[in-house]
Amino acid sequence: MDFLLHIIIMACLTLFPLLGYNIVFGKGKILHFGQEAQSLMAVYTLWVLVVQFQQPFLLALLASLLTTTMLSLLLAQLSFRLEPDGFGVMSIALHLAVLSIILNWQSVTRGALGIPRIPRGILPSSLERYALVVVLGAIAWYFFLRRLERSSFGRNLVALSEHEWHAESLGISRKKVHTIAFLLAGTGSMISAILFPPYIFLLSPLDYNFQHMIFFVMCAVAGGPGSLRGVTLAIFLIIFLREGLRFMGLPADILGPVQIMSFGLILFVAVCVRRDTLFPKQRTV
């Protein structure tokens, strides 16, 4: 039961930034690969201030909100000025730049060592209550995004993604809509920043590297880009699948590689099944 609760918590903690990211990447069809830069900014500002500088949590939260908002606005500005492919590359560069600063500014961030003993503060100490808080938060976040998706913001975002010029000619402001989308992605990262490190009592930069970004893209594609329900289901299924592979009962000496290969194979099959999303038309010569 505890393991099940743990997996549910991990899936919900992934859901916050990923559903935010899905608004930008899936719904808005903006080629954005810098979500983990937003997560790093949010999580490090918050916990460096609390743990390393012993600042009050609320003050640190405010600072984290400020830096994450600024980074989200920067990303939005860059997306307005660059072509989609150029922005994709720029967002990767931004993620790597933020990660590099964190790894190298060791007097403040402790670099690759990460920050141990992250306090839970007012968050529950028992697994069951932590799961309850996280699940309720995830449900609230889901329905908040669903409401937004069905509002004029959602319709405008889809209109812009389908035909930007036509949408703008109808009076839809790209700058306003896309800025809100990036801010929502930043909000998802903020929520995860508050809940994830206290859960494992550790803040490690390895949990925010580019592999995690690939995982985000994978979940968004597998669930159907832009689909809140699809991406939510994809997060839960992929995480349950990944953790389920721990039960394969393989000999220890081949365990790691076989689990990775099995996961890759299952994902390959999943992507083949979902090829209509990746390749709208069957390619023929």
Binding site: M1, L103, A112, I200, L206, A222, G224, E243, D253, V273
Partner: protein, 375 residues
């Protein structure tokens, strides 16, 4: 919205099938293992896992613990906090292991520790060396010394040799950074005259070494996480014509470094725990069972000793976590392959000495014992 039904159906079936699988061996004593079995640090994980398996296989061949066979439940911690936390949660709540041997990377140990602590399961790490592990909890032990101690040994060596100016290039990984931070703490201010950090796996140091040529220094410390990176540092250091001596830590003390760097490491020194297990029956048993270790034989020896000590504790006091914890705290001098050791109040190992090693005739040779001045 179009639900991707085929994908979900497929995934659900696979997840259910996998989750439904049950481990066999209900009657066995289960020992958990967490370590990096995939990824960049997999060599450490595979070696230590094999060390644990050797100890378990040998004990099972003698009839196990009070007639019960011992089963190792291994989990891949991937050297990351989140994966190690998942691994620990499964071992504690699903497999209900008596103890966990792990993690190997310090980040794994720190993330798994609160879960083991909450579950009342003793965890003993064979090779985590970060000073942070000392405060990880009452149920957390390690039979590998903290970097805080090794840096004391290195600082003492510099004093004894009259070395005042040290040039350091560090790889940006948890192990190398923990050691760098501990060394900076131990050395007088200004002793480190060149202190650069490079991205993990960097192989080109020519620009940095060109800058180093403008600095006056007595000794070079290539602070890398892997022998491959350290070999690149040393080869390019010698290529650029530097004649100063070089010294490093555990990572240097491997045959792989000599194979990779050749002449560039002739005369290089390392401060390390003794080459535990080298030339012993343990080494021949290990090689017969698993082949030559990918890293050092001493890493496998630490894992082997951790497993044997834990199994001795279970045989003596049963599988209750607090009883095993108390047993380990009361150990006075457990005689293992790595030497006779016990644990302090933090669960840190006591009794593992340090030695000064040097590359002579293309082999690492112990040239002196090092006494620690902890005052």
């Amino acid at each position: 919205m179009r639900v991707p039904s085929s994908f979900f159906a497929l995934s659900t079936c696979a997840a259910m099938a996998l989750t439904a699988c049950q481990l066999s061996g209900e009657e066995a004593v289960k020992i958990g293992y967490i370590g990096p079995l995939t990824g960049d640090a997999a060599a450490y994980g595979i070696d230590t896992l094999n060390g644990v398996k050797l100890a378990v296989d040998q004990l099972n061949a003698k009839g196990g613990i009070n007639g019960k066979m011992v089963q190792v439940v291994a989990e891949d911690g991937k050297c990351t906090g989140s994966d190690a936390a998942s691994a620990a949660q499964k071992l504690v709540s699903i497999d209900k292991v008596s103890v966990i041997i792990g993690g190997q990377c310090s980040g794994e140990t720190l993330a798994a520790a609160p879960i083991a602590e909450a579950g009342g399961v003793v965890m003993i790490s064979p090779i985590s060396s970060s000073p942070d592990v000392s405060q990880a909890g009452d149920y957390i032990f390690r039979d590998y010394p903290s970097d805080a101690l090794k840096s004391v040994a290195m600082a003492g060596y510099f004093v004894s040799e009259g070395i005042e100016k040290v040039a350091v290039i560090s790889e940006n990984t948890d192990f190398a950074q923990a050691f760098r931070a501990a060394l900076i703490k131990e050395l007088p201010e200004g002793a480190i005259v060149f202190d650069e950090v490079v991205e993990p796996g960097t192989k080109d140091y020519r620009t940095l070494l060109s800058r180093l040529s403008d600095t006056e220094f007595d000794i070079f410390f290539p602070n890398a996480q892997t022998p491959a990176t350290m070999a690149a540092m040393m080869q390019q250091f010698r290529e650029q014509g530097f004649t100063q001596p070089a010294i490093a830590h555990d990572v240097a003390d491997s045959a792989e470094l000599i194979t990779l760097a050749g002449e560039a490491v002739a005369g290089m020194r390392a401060i390390n725990i003794p080459a535990s297990g080298e030339g012993t029956s343990f080494e021949s048993d290990f090689i017969a069972a698993f082949g030559t270790p990918q890293q050092q034989i001493s890493f496998t020896a630490h894992a082997y000793d951790a497993a044997n000590l834990i199994m001795q504790a279970i045989a003596a006091v049963g599988e209750d976590g607090s009883a095993i914890r108390d047993y380990l705290n009361a150990v006075e001098a457990y005689k293992g392959v790595v030497g006779a050791f016990s644990f302090d109040d933090n669960g840190d190992v006591i009794g593992i000495p340090y030695v000064l090693r040097e590359v002579q005739n293309e082999k690492w040779t112990t040239i002196a014992d090092i006494q620690l001045d902890l005052n």
